[in-house]
């Protein structure tokens, strides 16, 4: 029986699934659930989880192992992996999902207005790193934690696409 480890919004779920009698019998963190699933076209489906109606569109996420569930008008990212692999990974002391990002990527397309740091700078959480203009608004990209800048990969005046590297940490 397939067993997965799913991480949503900081909460971990241990999920086992089985398909019998045209429905899914699921155990989630030890709680039994019965799910009916009706496809709605493409990646969308209607789930009845213990009779509770839910429309969902599950699509690939930006990272490997990441999926996004569109539900209730929201985009909810989730990381999913095989339960046994997750167990081994944890035993090895590794964090769930990809390691803390060493590369700061552009979170949106736009024009780089300014780069506020230089290689070797030690930055603290919340410190402005790069300013990107999109739709005539300045968007300040800030450090998410403490780190040391290694390489600057962009220049003021550059046009960047979403996901382009802006700078690299050590």
């Amino acid at each position: 029986m397939p067993r997965y480890n799913v991480l949503v919004d900081g909460q971990e779920f241990d999920i086992t699934l089985e398909y019998r009698w045209e429905r899914y019998f699921v155990s989630v963190n030890g709680q039994e659930r019965e799910i009916m699933r009706y496809p709605l076209g493409e990646t969308r489906s209607l789930l009845l989880i213990d009779k509770h109606s839910l429309e969902v569109d599950v699509r690939p996420g930006a990272q490997n192992g990441e999926r996004v569930a569109f539900m209730w008008g929201m985009e909810i990212p989730a990381e999913i992996e095989d339960f046994n692999l997750a167990k081994m990974r944890k035993a090895a002391g590794l964090a769930h999902g990809p390691a803390v990002e060493a590369i700061l990527k552009a979170p949106m397309p736009g024009l780089v207005l300014d780069v506020r740091v230089k290689p070797g700078d030690k930055v603290s959480k919340g410190q402005p790193l790069v300013i990107i203009e999109a739709m005539k608004m300045e968007n300040i990209i800030r450090a998410r934690g403490e780190a040391t800048v290694k390489v600057i990969s962009t220049l003021p005046g550059s046009s960047v696409e979403k996901g382009d590297a802006l700078l690299e940490f050590e």
Partner: protein
């Protein structure tokens, strides 16, 4: 003035669609313009005619006066409606239209110029006897002196662009040390957005409400107001939720504020629809803020409670008709709330989220109005304002309007692009919002780290289940497809057909 027969809409998105709808309702032909990014956009699909005007960036398309005028001439449009944003408060474009013999649906270009300059508007308001927020101008030639002026007004202080609007070129400065950097940054943004770096200073009120009065003035000297909208729920000086009436409004205050707005309009010789914005403090004292000489994003809440169609009224005024209503004929009914739906990611600092709307089903039913600029399959381009729709609900009272808003937000089906629907669901549960204790600082006070936790334990579990089920099915595709519910369905149908036949045969 002669009747308008064809209107060019110099805009895109929901407001272009909104104006096209009004054109249909009046029986006027509509002309859309579009760029390479907007070939299949909803406004192009809705208009009677559509003209391509160039590449995606608005600086090379929607903002180019020559292109708009050229299409107006080629299409035979006798009027241009600028919507909001883009050319809507551009006095030289308004003048250009008139020079070319085309009706500009908006106030006279002199009025647009006068009120577009926030400094001049402020002086005009003072002259008309309206209270203004304490503040001062800055001599742009000696910026070093600005610090002294700021110290006199006292911190926290607000730096505002003279040509500003929509929070662009605006900065709150909480302490004197940050003043210089904020001033520079505001000036940069103002120059980039408006080509005008002039800024001025205003005292930053501690818990003000943003309340604005909608006015309508015809070319014959008649001027009325349609009551207020409260737009205190703002993020980064951008309105995100608006309502009418204001929870603190009384008939008396409405009359006083309405009269003040109408007096200012008269003093400016205002012709058209417009909005006079005020800040209102905890003592219900109000201060003039600015005049918007265009249709506001949030105009539907006024339409719903008054029963008027503001775009129709704009067109009637533009073709020289006198107002159809006197002040005492304006009646308000119930309460309307509007949520602006943006393609933005609340989990990622509200950065714009572009892409394709894989599915898009709007809410409907009693008390719900949706002014949407997109449909299923639409692309959300990065080039333009990320607001994709406005969701407006009406109720007998504020409570009913809000419960319907909650329902409508739940009903929305969107996939492919992240939106602020979840953000709005959080606000609709906020106790201060629900109690009507609003201020323009509500969001930053209640959510100081800009984080809106949209998921509860049940939602997280359901998302986890959906993702696990998806992986399970993709990895075991073949086995399952065979036993899918569809097969059951058709089997049942067959059984029924036989049953039905048998039963029928028996009963005859």
């Amino acid at each position: 003035m002669s009747a308008i027969r064809k209107i060019l809409i110099a805009n895109r998105g929901e407001i272009a669609v909104r104006i096209i709808r009004a054109c249909r309702d009046i029986g006027i032909k509509s002309v859309a313009v579009y760029t390479d990014c907007d070939t299949t956009s909803f406004h192009v699909r809705m208009a009677d005619e559509a003209y391509h005007i160039g590449p995606c960036p608005s600086s090379q398309s929607y903002l180019v006066h020559d292109k708009i005028i050229d299409v107006a001439k080629r299409s035979g449009a006798d009027a241009v409606h600028p919507g909001y944003g883009f050319l809507s408060e551009n006095a030289s474009f308004a003048k250009r239209c008139v020079d070319e013999g085309i009706i500009f649906i908006g106030p006279k270009s002199e009025t647009v110029a006068l009120l577009g300059d926030k400094l001049e508007a402020r002086q005009m308001a003072m002259k008309a006897g309206l209270p203004v927020v304490p503040g001062a101008e800055i001599d742009m030639k000696s910026l070093s002196a600005a610090h002294e002026v700021a110290d006199k007004i006292g911190f926290p202080i607000l730096v505002k662009a003279a040509a500003g609007g929509g929070g662009k070129g605006m900065r709150v400065v909480r302490t004197p040390e940050l003043f210089d950097e904020s001033l520079r940054s505001a000036m940069n943004e103002a120059r980039s957005a408006f080509g005008d770096e002039r800024v001025y200073l205003e005292r930053y009120l501690s818990r003000p409400r943003h309340i604005e009065i909608q006015i309508l003035c015809d070319a014959h000297g008649n001027c009325i107001h349609l009551g207020e909208r409260e737009c205190s729920i703002q993020r980064r000086h951008q309105k995100v939720i608006e309502e009418s009436p204001s929870p603190i409004m009384t008939p008396e205050l409405r009359e006083i504020m309405g009269k003040a707005a109408v007096e200012l309009a008269r003093a400016c010789g205002y012709v058209g629809a417009g909005t006079v914005e005020f800040l209102v403090d905890e003592h219900r004292s109000f201060y003039f803020l600015e005049v918007n000489t265009r249709l506001q994003v949030e105009h539907p809440v006024t339409e719903i409670v008054t029963g008027l169609d503001l775009v129709k009224e704009q067109v009637a005024i533009a073709q020289g008709e006198p107002l159809k209503y006197q002040q005492d004929q304006i009646k308000w009914r119930g309460h309307a709330v509007e949520c602006r739906i943006y393609a933005e990611d609340p989990d990622n600092g509200f950065l714009p989220s572009s892409g394709t709307l894989k599915s898009y089903v709007i809410p409907a039913g009693p008390g719900v109005r949706v002014d949407s600029g997109v449909v299923a399959g639409s692309d959300v381009p990065i080039y333009y304002d990320p607001m994709i729709a406005k969701l407006i609900t009406w109720g007998k009272d504020r409570n009913e309007a809000i419960t319907r808003m909650k329902r409508a937000l739940e009903e929305y089906r969107v996939s492919g692009v992240e939106t602020t629907i979840g953000f709005h669901r959080v606000i609709m549960e906020n106790s201060k919002f629900l109690s009507g204790e609003l201020s323009t600082h509500l969001l930053e006070e209640e959510y100081p780290d800009n984080v809106y936790r949209r998921l509860d334990a049940d939602m997280r579990e359901k998302a986890a289940l959906a993702v696990a089920l998806d992986k399970f099915i993709r990895e075991r595709k073949i086995t399952i497809a065979d036993g899918d519910a569809r097969r059951t369905s058709s089997r049942w149908v067959q059984v029924h057909r036989q049953d039905g036949l048998r039963k029928f045969g028996g009963s005859r």
